[in-house]
Amino acid sequence: MTTKQRICITVNGVRHEREVEPRLTLVDFLRHELYLGGTHVGCEHGICGVCTVLIDGRSARSCLALAVQADGCDVTTVEGLRDGATAQLHPIQQAFVEAHGLQCGFCTPGFMMTTLELLTENADPSDDEIKEALGGNLCRCTGYESIIASVRLAARRLREQQGA
């Protein structure tokens, strides 16, 4: 009885048109319709933050958005971080590798997308600002210290890149 809806969402610069059930969440749309598995599914009710993506440049939990709500929006996922031309890791990804910002890696896409929004707004955040920004993302491996160090390193690299 449910009417499917035609939607058009731009993900990492590519337009995708699909017919979807209204109840399909954005994260399931990304994973099951577009086969972009980088965005993980955790709690599915807005607690853990692993499904964080950017919607029109703003971090959002993609389990708390319906795909139909994102119709016409510009979505950035973790797959959009890497440089398409050179295949080089984004400075945030590189920093997480070097500063041991991940162990199992399950929560990492969410942390990196939140970090992307933070560093776009604030090129040189304090530790307190980093902690506040990452408060909506849970990690069960690292104890967070190495994640905060990764964000600091990424911020420094991005500032150097901008200065260069």
């Binding site: 971090s59 709500q69 939140t114």
Partner: protein, 291 residues
């Protein structure tokens, strides 16, 4: 953890949304309004809510604004909390509402969550309803019969229930500008940063000739709705806001509470204790800000 099936409409104008809600109501269809979705989506995922139809207000651009209007700040119901947080006007003219906004959830929640949605959802543990009672916020709603205004005192009915009719759309939240020299504070206790509070207190405190002329105090997270603590407010009138007096008022506020909620995270007694501690800290902070 997947929502049950529903039909979805995203009307582009308020008039169409109101007309649609009225029509669905007449047809006996269980329709629910979707604003930012940061509370409704988890309820759908857990199937606590299973509406047949969702009416999304997200496409109605006319409900997204923050403007100053004759001594008040008018906020469109679909304005994001992030926009309220980023608003220099709100930070300057209504710092209590601004501080409360920063306590709501995390940045991902504030990016999508709407100002109006939190009031309409009326979670007793959320900050906004208590601030509404302290500030006498006024709500505007539009239904099939037209527009009406609802003062905060008549808005919150009980646990997650407001006096909005099922066919009405909350359109605007009007905050009075905080009068110059008025002290204010909001404090809460949550087990993790960004969680819903186990208990919290919001206050404004106005002095005249060194004594309390008007104190407004409200608690959240303890009863079925946020509650004004009028006994303590009246006790403080005409008194100097020194430490001992404020502590006495806080103890009175905690004692006067109806039996608080009890859950696995906090017993009723613990919540009552929190209200005493938080009320004292809030009153001290507000008194220090008052001129």
């Amino acid at each position: 953890m997947k929502p049950a099936s529903f039909d979805y409409h995203a009307p582009p104008t308020l008039a169409e949304a109101v007309e649609l809600m009225a029509r669905l109501h007449e047809e006996g269809v269980d329709a629910k309004i979707l604003a930012g979705g940061q509370s409704l989506m988890p309820m759908l995922a857990m199937r606590v809510a299973r509406p047949e139809v969702l009416v999304d207000l997200g496409k109605i651009k006319s409900l997204d604004y923050i403007r100053e209007e004759s001594g008040a700040i008018a906020i469109g119901a679909m304005t994001s909390k992030r926009a309220a947080e980023a608003s220099a006007l709100i930070e300057r003219q209504q710092p209590l509402f601004h501080a409360a906004t920063k306590l709501v959830g995390h940045r991902q929640i504030r990016n999508r969550g709407s100002v109006g949605g939190s009031f309409a959802h009326a979670d007793p543990a959320s900050e906004y309803p208590a601030v509404a009672l302290v500030l006498d916020i006024v709500f505007k709603a539009v239904g099939p019969e037209g527009e009406r205004t609802i003062p905060a005192g008549d808005f919150f009915v009980t646990y997650m229930t407001t006096s909005l009719e099922s066919t009405e759309v909350l359109t605007e939240v009007r905050l009075p500008v905080l009068p110059a020299g008025t002290g204010w504070a909001i404090q809460e206790f949550a087990r993790r940063n960004g969680d819903l509070a186990l208990a919290g207190v919001a206050t404004t405190l106005k002095l005249a000739a060194g004594v309390c002329a008007d104190v407004r105090l409200a608690a959240f997270g303890v009863n079925a709705t946020a509650v004004r603590l009028t006994g303590a407010e009246e006790f403080l009138r005409g008194k100097r806001p020194d430490r001992a007096v404020l502590a006495q008022a806080a103890a009175m506020a905690a004692n006067d509470l109806d039996e608080p909620m009890s859950c696995v995270h906090a017993s009723a007694d613990y919540r009552r204790h929190l209200i005493r501690v938080l009320a004292e800290r809030c009153l001290l902070e507000a008194a220090a800000r008052a001129i």
